[in-house]
């Protein structure tokens, strides 16, 4: 009864606010950085703000040698890493990565301690989704606001010859920059691909490639000639890296393509958000075969011998003969926590799968099985 309509209104607004605030945190960044293996160590993010190094021996994790940041250390206590999406760059002595909050970090590879960070020194425009490109003592990266930066890898200072406040491109550099023959390739969320000089950022192509079909969230080099350009407009382009021209007519998909492909020299394997798995023959520009996953596919697959392994967002793991597309075994539902957005990694006959819960799983193509990889505790 509207005897006290404004009381009712106040009550309803309070209830509304409580509901909205209670349901507010629906979009926290979690990150999807790919685990990185060296000969004897795995570097990965078990949660959104911590990088750990785990030694491996005979395919078994042995010891967590360090974690970064260590809040017990003053220099690392207040770093506030939000999440990491781009893959870590592992150099001889240093590991580099960029956080969603807009900071770049250099970490000593042996000790896991901070060498430098751009925090408090470089206020970038936007957030960082893209990974870092490391070339010629320089780290390159783009931001969600479309700014492209180059830093000295030794200090994190702006690289000589590059604008300290970044070069502005059309909005949204979400894809990790690529390098080929001193040319850097950048993709924008406005649907453009740019080729610029690694020396000074000057344009290399006569004009940027314009997809006309929406945002380009990823960019990959299939060989030394072809750029794999997926879009959120359900189209994939294969571009000549030298000219920026389409090598084949654009390739339509069922839904968004937001992933890197696994490439075996002939086929580019990738999935779309409709769960369709493609084996794109780069000699014809057409699918050699397709298959259907059970959920959208965000993570790049891994090629292990003659098998290509996919993990969809279910998460369900799928094994296919990479030549014929024949399914091996049945879709595997073993993973029981989180989902899969990080690219799969092939290593020593297995495909490693990192879930958003921070658990590592190992898929065995020979048996089409998936097993958890038990992680050790931190070293004393």
């Amino acid at each position: 009864m509207p005897r006290h309509p404004k009381k009712a209104l106040a009550f309803a607004i309070t209830a509304l606010a409580a509901l909205l605030v209670a349901c507010g945190d629906i979009a926290n960044p979690e990150g999807w950085a790919t685990p990185h293996f060296t000969n004897d160590t795995l570097y990965y993010f078990p949660d959104d703000d911590t990088l750990v190094a785990v030694t491996f021996d005979d395919d078994q994790p042995q010891t967590v040698t360090w974690g970064f940041p260590d809040t017990a250390i003053d220099a690392e206590a207040n770093l506030d890493i939000d999440a990491v999406y781009g893959d870590v760059v592992v150099d001889d002595d240093v590991i580099y990565f960029a956080g969603w909050e807009g900071h770049v970090y250099a970490v000593d590879r042996d000790s896991g301690r901070l060498l430098w960070t751009t925090r408090d020194r470089l206020d970038v425009e936007g957030s960082i989704v893209a990974g870092l490109l490391h070339h010629n003592n320089t780290l390159y990266f783009g931001t969600t606001e479309g700014f492209f930066y180059a830093l000295e890898d030794e200090t994190g200072a702006p690289a000589p010859g590059w604008r300290a406040d970044g070069i502005e491109f059309p909005k949204g550099l979400w894809a990790t920059p690529l390098l080929l023959d001193e040319t850097i390739y950048l993709a924008t969320m406005t649907g453009e691909v740019h080729a610029i000089s690694a020396e000074d950022g000057s344009p290399v192509w006569d004009a940027p490639f314009e997809s006309g079909t929406g945002a380009i969230p990823e960019l990959s080099l299939l060989n030394d000639e072809l750029l794999f350009v997926p879009t959120l407009g359900k189209t994939v382009y294969l571009l000549d890296a030298a000219t920026g021209q389409e090598e084949f007519p654009s390739f339509d998909t069922e839904d968004w393509v937001w992933t890197s492909p696994a490439f075996d020299g002939n086929y580019a394997y990738f999935g779309d958000f409709e769960g369709v798995i493609h084996a794109l023959d780069i000699t014809t520009g057409h699918d050699a075969w397709t298959a259907q996953a059970e959920d959208k596919v965000k993570a790049a697959p891994a090629i292990v011998d003659d098998v290509v392994v996919f993990a969809d967002r279910g998460p369900v793991v799928h094994f296919f003969d990479r030549e014929t597309g024949d399914r091996i075994g049945v879709p595997n539902h073993a993973i029981d926590s989180g989902t899969v957005r990080a690219d799969l990694v092939a290593r020593d006959g297995y495909a490693y799968i990192l879930t958003t819960s921070g658990d590592l799983w190992r898929a065995d193509p020979e048996t089409a099985t998936v097993q958890p990889v038990p992680m050790p505790g931190a070293a004393e």
Partner: protein, 308 residues
């Protein structure tokens, strides 16, 4: 289940409408929110008009309601008589809260729509794929520009917080309040300040896009109020006449006296006296400062006489 229905019938259509509006309105999501607000107000205008009519009719029945409340001590019987009086006067007591209630699912959906369309994280953008219709025009439009007039529409903004408070206050001030009850007048006066303050407080944590919607909604509401009731403080006369309710069934119920200097709405042939207590909240404030107390006493006297 409820979430799925909410997504299908409210959230997803809203997301797609916002994307289309953004594309049409020069790629500006801020303009899209403004356009969306105006569309919502236009679409709900019949309800709004009905609300204005019902509110007015309800309040013109106040003397009758008061009489019935005093006449019947049994709550059940009192309720029956009240409903009978409402029915005879052609008034639906719930009719004036329709548009108000309609705002809440729209607000909730808009809150989520803004978060979906202007993702705060890559994961949120990934989630948008499932909400967009399979139309190239829409698919190619994302991600949208999240800045408008220097504001990040995904995050709270202090300017918008102030505007939410001010425009809500303005809407409350221009809202017609018919009541002869001192206690209700006090409550309404308090709510004129409390509600804007409360909403401004909430706006501190809401996306400024949602605050933009509320601000534009309130501005349009102020416009409706002024067009409908005028704004005597500024010498603005009502531009449209509201439907008059049927004559209250208890003809012997005394009408409350007009509240101050409110002009009778056009079309009301009973003149100023019949505009029982019609006043904007601004007028009510003035009355409270001047003749409010004595008028209230006068209103109560006839009832006391009848009771004795």
């Amino acid at each position: 289940m409820i979430g799925t229905v909410f997504d299908l019938i409210l959230l997803n259509p809203m997301v797609n409408i916002l994307v289309v509006l953004t594309t049409v309105l020069f790629g500006s999501f801020g303009l899209a929110i403004i356009g969306f607000t105006i569309l919502v107000r236009i679409a709900t205008f019949p309800l709004t008009l009905r609300q204005l009519n019902q509110t007015r009719a309800m309040q013109q029945l106040q003397p009758v309601v008061q009489e019935l409340q005093k006449k019947y001590s049994d709550p059940k019987r009192r309720q029956q008589e009240l409903m009978k009086a409402y029915k005879e006067a052609g008034v639906n007591p719930l009719g004036c809260i329709g548009p108000m209630l309609l705002q809440f699912p729209i607000l909730i959906a808009l809150f989520y729509a803004i978060r979906a369309v202007l993702p705060q994280s890559p994961e949120a953008l990934e989630g948008l794929s499932g909400r967009l219709y399979d139309i190239a025009f829409i698919q190619h439009a994302v991600p949208l520009e999240e800045h408008f007039l220097g504001m990040d529409l995904r995050s709270p903004n202090l300017v918008m917080v102030v505007l939410v408070g001010l425009t809500t206050w303005a809407q409350m001030k221009t809202t017609v309040m018919y009541t002869t009850d001192d206690r209700m007048k006090m409550q309404q006066k308090m709510m004129t300040w409390m509600l804007p303050a409360m909403l401004a407080f909430f706006a501190l944590s809401f996306p400024s896009g949602l605050s933009l919607y509320w601000t534009v909604n309130s501005v349009v509401g102020v416009g409706f109020n002024i067009v409908t009731y005028g704004f005597p403080l500024l010498g603005i006369q009502p531009l449209v006449a509201l439907r008059q309710p049927k004559q209250p069934p208890s003809g012997d119920a005394e009408q409350p006296e007009p509240s101050g200097d409110a002009e009778p709405p056009p079309g009301d042939q009973k003149g100023k006296k019949a505009k029982a207590g019609v006043a904007t909240s601004a007028q009510s404030d003035r009355q409270a400062r001047t003749t409010h107390g004595s008028r209230s006493n006068r209103n109560k006297r006839p009832n006391r006489r009848r009771r004795s």
